[in-house]
Subunit: 343 residues, 2 copies
């Protein structure tokens, strides 16, 4: 009887066979990478001699649910969230390190799909898998570290927003939250809109090119990526910038047609869209007179930028609804990883 | 009634309070680190412009057992295993990134002890905690990534051993295996010998200074650290070097007095000491005529180096017992993370 080797478990396949498989999947070496997978450490010569580093850990049952997340979705997303952090510094990603904690019962086919999607996204941005670790764990855990290089002008930090700056957001907000609700069966959106929302949750598109353009432009005063929710992350930006405040204009928030339709149908409200998290969009502040020049510089990237409010000298986050009347969030403001919450 | 805040759980203390605690614990910034904890990524300018990177993941119940591993032991060891990898490249460690998956019930006191021991070891070697991630996980998971810099002559790789090279090992082998057996209650060694063995398992001393000296010397042909067991790691070195073989002289193996005593008392055998793993010693190969010069160069480090055998052109690992008679390992040769095994 023929046995499908892709249905082997990792315990049968073996750690070293998996590493061999990984090495075979890698493209020809990255020009800056002098030594990749297979030694005690990798060796890399970053152009410009400076390094940006970020790391993110994803845990089964907390950050993802395998009931509706495929191996390929997870491979993609575990790199995407790190690319988003590096984009938020205005940098360019270069070398990535993948530490995997895997049950011995993991199927070879599952791992191959995970790795192929991870490497598909890596290749797209010229990122090289340069090392990692593979260990046994009953719970599936993925920890990615990413090294990249800053723009010549240095990275764009969270600190640096000034009163009077305009606040801009890339793309649209709240889609990932709605997509998660759909995947959990708590919301029903059919057709292309439903597919779009679920994709925004499972396969976020990190703003790698936009981030690098914004970093190179030297025009952005402060930036971060929206992962904990727009309100929470705006709070982080304000706090890093020295405690200024911000006005957000609810009606100016960039919403996708799918999110706008869900809002109109009463399937969600503004507070949910503003705090849902995992948008992986870039939020940045800019002196108002710089926008035309910036818009011209990033026009080729094809990502929409929307002015959503401004930095104020008065501390706090003030939401303005229709007719600039105050809008209340009802205390749903942040995301702490240790509060119980849906994944 | 007074409440001891150190008995708070992480769920009460909160992720951001923990990060604030961490930042307060950090020493004044590292001269090369331009931006540390608190942004989307860290920013670092490595002296010499080149980077070595390694990463290791430790999982509760697989790599450690909290029944006999204290928070401080674990904090220490999770950095030590990465320092050992960097030492094995002949490099100098610089910036470390700590990703923690923690149950919400983790006590503040536990975390403080973990961090204090991690930072004690980091400070000792001038390593700066520059970033990380803190997430919720039912199973305790620690994933560390470490960036460092190679010696000016470049890193010492696994590849590079040549027939005729002598094989050297730092320190002693098998202590960690015996210490683990003691901790598991499977072996009883009392007094200072028992304390020594348990310490060798729980608080390994990575050969950071020795590794950097060996790297700078430019004399070492191939090197790695012994983590999977001496035989398995020697196999990795031979395979990376193009498939040469090696002769190991059993009677020349450096054993501590405690291990020698355990061997004499029949509490263990050579195969166990050779395959037990987690020695975190450096294994390297060298042209025979270079040793006197090398020994003089590293004399100040205070770590004993022992010639344990040589590289042969005949493939395979050949153990020589008393009178250079062949010695059999009975198939206990490697470590695969997905084989079931004691932690």
């Amino acid at each position: 009887m023929a046995v499908d080797i892709r249905e082997q478990t990792l315990a049968d396949w073996g750690e070293f066979s998996f590493i061999g498989f990984l090495r075979d999947r890698l493209p020809a070496s990255h020009p800056e990478l002098l030594l990749g997978i297979g030694d005690d450490a990798s060796w890399w010569r970053p152009a410009g001699g400076e390094v940006l580093t970020t790391t993110d850990m994803l845990v089964e049952g907390v950050h993802f649910d395998l009931a509706y997340t495929s191996a390929a979705d997870l491979g993609w997303k575990s790199l995407a969230v790190n690319l988003s952090d590096l984009a938020a510094m205005g940098g360019r990603p270069a070398c990535v390190y993948l530490a995997l904690g895997l049950p011995g019962t993991t199927r070879r086919s599952w791992l191959e799909e995970f790795i192929d999607a991870f490497l598909e996204l890596a290749d797209h941005y010229g990122v090289q898998l340069a090392g990692g670790d593979t260990v046994r764990s009953e719970t599936l855990v993925i920890s990615v570290a990413l090294n990249g290089i800053p723009a010549a002008a240095g990275p764009v930090r969270r600190a640096g927003a000034r009163p009077g700056d305009d606040l801009y957001l890339s793309g649209s907000v709240g889609d990932s939250f709605l997509g998660l609700r759909c995947l959990q069966g708590r919301l029903s959106v059919s057709g292309p809109a439903g597919i779009f929302l679920r994709e925004r949750h499972l396969r976020p598109r990190p703003r790698v090119e936009l981030g690098a353009f914004l970093g190179t432009s030297g025009m952005v005063n402060a930036m971060l990526d929206v992962s904990d929710g727009l309100i929470a992350d705006l709070g982080h930006l304000l706090s890093a910038s020295g405690g200024w405040g911000a006005e957000l204009e609810i009606e100016n928030l960039p919403l996708s047609s799918a999110a706008r339709e869900a809002l109109r149908a009463g399937m969600c409200d503004y507070p949910e869209l503003l705090t849902g998290g995992e948008d992986f969009e870039l939020l940045f502040s800019l002196a108002p007179d710089r926008f035309p020049e910036l818009a011209a510089a990033v026009a080729g990237v094809g990502v929409e930028l929307t002015r959503i409010g401004r930095i104020t000298s008065k501390p706090g986050i003030f939401l303005l609804g229709p007719d600039r009347l105050p809008y209340q969030l009802d205390g749903k403001e942040g995301y702490d990883h240790f509060q119980t919450r849906d994944c």
